[in-house]
């Protein structure tokens, strides 16, 4: 912060709304893409783990190691290979979602009551029909819980991706980086505040989505 400068320069914000909106858009991209890709990978891994419980240990071990790699280190390793591309940013962001998502999806499948599975089998569902029509819908609440956590985590981690993304896809992290480099607090405070707002909004959004698609889970208790 330079001497005599205001902490927050509202006129700068007013003059740069377009740029700010663009950064928010980039940030959403840096969040939605890795969570979506991570979810698909995690779903496949989870179904595998539920059908063959022996692979669950190795899967969580590998995703657990991925989860512990510092993002800066991951970028440093990837830049020589995949360059300053979106792919370099996405690989670490996707890998961070996997542990959270695999655990919650597997917990969702395992939480389906055994008598429900037995009834489905006894009535003549094929294995695939049972997976799609019974197990998957019943695992949805746990899946959404995992998605909430993964998304909020991804929103935070995505700020680091500005190291790679820069102006092209740096997101709110780019606002923070530029603000710090130019000693302009308005920019980095705004970047930080907006990523918090995004995280909270995502959280609320997922709660609403869950309510909407699982009306049975919040059905009031027994009618007597």
């Amino acid at each position: 912060m330079l001497p005599g400068q205001q902490l927050i320069d509202f006129s700068w914000i007013g003059d740069h709304l377009g740029q700010i909106a663009e950064r928010i858009g980039q940030h959403l991209e840096l969040t939605i893409l890795p969570v979506a890709i991570g979810f698909l990978i995690a779903l496949v891994l989870s179904i595998w783990a539920v059908r063959q419980p022996i692979v669950y240990g190795p899967i969580t071990a590998v995703t657990g190691v991925l989860y512990t790699i510092p993002s800066l280190a991951a970028f440093a390793v990837l830049i020589p290979i995949t360059g300053l591309s979106l792919v370099s940013a996405l690989i670490p962001l996707v890998s961070y979602t996997l542990l959270i998502l695999v655990r919650s999806i597997v917990a969702g499948f395992r939480g389906v009551a055994p008598e429900v599975l037995e009834a489905a089998e006894g009535m003549g569902y094929t294995r695939t029909q049972r997976l799609i029509r019974v197990e998957f819908p019943l695992a949805v609440p746990m899946m959404i819980a995992g998605l909430r956590l993964a998304t909020v985590t991804a929103i935070g981690l995505a700020t680091v991706a500005s190291i790679i993304g820069g102006d092209t896809f740096g997101g709110l992290g780019q606002l923070i980086t530029e603000g710090l480099q130019t000693f302009f607090p308005t920019k980095y405070l705004l970047g930080a505040a907006l990523s918090v707002v995004l995280a909270v909004s995502a959280d609320v959004l997922f709660v609403q989505i869950e309510r909407w698609i699982t009306p049975w889970a919040r059905a009031p208790g027994s009618a007597g």
Binding site: A113, E115, V116, E118, A119, A120, E121, G122, M123, G124, Y125, T126, Q129, V134, P137, L138, T214, P215, W216, A217, A219, P220, G221, S222, A223, G224
Partner: protein, 400 residues
């Protein structure tokens, strides 16, 4: 319910065994050991026994949730092992204790499960589901859109039964279907189910550990003992009259004489005619009639022949009309469907040991007494096992 009646299949276990523990060699303990049972079409066969006796395993081998180690299960003469698995299961109703209703589906969707698997049209599924809800005593308008979590235990069991009946299967497997509800609800569900079965006439395999339920529900009862063997297979009456072994005798209980009373109903007795007098008729005539009989009470009824109460003939005036104020409404009421066990119990509890038998409209059909029940025991319809055992609490004194 013409759409649900008349389809039933025979079920035959032919030397069926199930052994767990990898190789099926003779040394490993059997869950089910050389089971041979033949269940005629349209009957309820109860598999009863202590836990771990293989009754549930036997049941699940019919829809092949468990595959037998050896032996064959024939459904209408066709080996179940040779049929396509899902096709076989869609043709067998399956009800389990915890119901296994799908929590994410509404009641009407749950009931439509098998028809949906069979590819029925949406309209037909809906129509059938609502019909079945009505059949099991749940108003479709009220219950269709509810989720299982919004139902009571008894309602869930009804939905479970409706779901199993949806595609009109010739065979139903019921694994402790009424085990998870309280005794009052259980009894009502049992009664309703028996009434339903009179119309449906399905072939039903019914697993329970409760001998009273077995005797009540079964046309045939197979008593299992530990080790997966059938200790006795027969009608409830045969089981109670002549237990095949000590184990069966102990399992059916020392009160099996009383239990046999539960197998006969008031309809099996020749009722006493009731000395009735209609309210408003001549008291003097009723008095003379009452005093002339050995039983000097008169039963006052309304014009529709519904009982109002007893009047001691000796207390009646010589003339004037009979009024309701004279009557003393103390007798227990039974109907022709009441079991002799329940009737006896009611009579023993009451001051007047004469029960009034009424029909559906409440009109008097006759009288039943402790004597009549005791007489029926002496005739040998019920008596032998009871007389040998002389169980405590039995009505040893035939006097009124």
């Amino acid at each position: 319910m013409e759409s649900s009646a008349g389809r039933a299949a025979t079920v035959e276990f032919d030397q069926v065994s199930k052994r767990y523990g990898g190789s099926a060699k003779a040394g490993t303990p059997a869950a089910v050991n050389d089971l041979s049972l033949s269940i005629p079409a349209g009957r309820i066969c109860v598999l009863v026994g202590p836990s771990g006796c293989g009754k549930t395993t036997s049941l699940k081998m019919v829809n092949r949730l468990i595959e037998p180690t050896s032996g064959r299960i024939l459904l209408d003469g066709v080996d179940a092992a040779g049929r396509e698995l899902t096709e076989l299961r869609r043709g067998i109703g399956y009800v389990i204790q915890q119901t296994g209703l799908f929590p994410h589906q509404t009641v009407v969707e749950n009931v439509g499960t098998v028809p949906r698997l069979l590819g029925w049209s949406g309209a037909r599924i809906r129509e059938r589901s609502e019909e079945l809800l009505g059949l099991v005593g749940l108003d479709p308008a009220k219950y269709s859109r509810r989720f299982p979590s919004q139902l009571s235990g008894g309602e869930r069991q009804r939905v479970g039964v409706a779901r199993a009946l949806a595609a009109d299967p010739p065979i139903m497997l019921m694994d402790e279907p009424f085990g998870a509800v309280d005794p009052i609800v259980r009894e009502r569900l049992q009664d309703e189910f028996l009434r339903l079965q009179e119309e449906l006439a399905k072939t039903i395999l019914f697993v329970t550990h409760d001998i009273d339920e077995a005797i009540k529900m079964g046309d045939l009862v197979a008593v299992f003992e530990i080790g997966g063997k059938v200790a006795q297979f027969g009608t409830p009456a045969e089981l109670l009259a002549s237990p095949a072994s000590d184990f069966v005798a102990r399992f059916v209980g020392t009160d099996r004489g009383l239990k046999r009373l539960a197998l006969s109903r008031v309809a099996d007795l020749t009722l006493h005619a009731a000395p009735t007098a209609v309210v408003g008729s001549d008291a003097g005539e009723a008095r003379r009639r009452g005093l002339a009989a050995s039983f000097q009470f008169v039963l006052l009824t309304d014009p529709a022949n519904r009982p109002l109460g007893w009047i001691d003939a000796a207390t009646l005036p010589e003339s004037g009309p009979l009024t309701e104020a004279l009557a003393n409404p103390t007798s227990p009421f039974v109907n022709k469907r009441t079991t002799l066990k329940d009737a006896l119990s009611l009579l023993l509890d009451s001051d007047v040991q004469v029960g009034i038998v009424t029909d559906r409209t409440g009109a008097v059909q006759g009288l039943v007494t402790v004597d009549m029940i005791a007489e029926r025991m002496r005739e040998g319809h019920i008596a032998p096992a009871y007389l040998v055992d002389a169980p405590p609490g039995a009505p040893a004194d035939p006097a009124e």
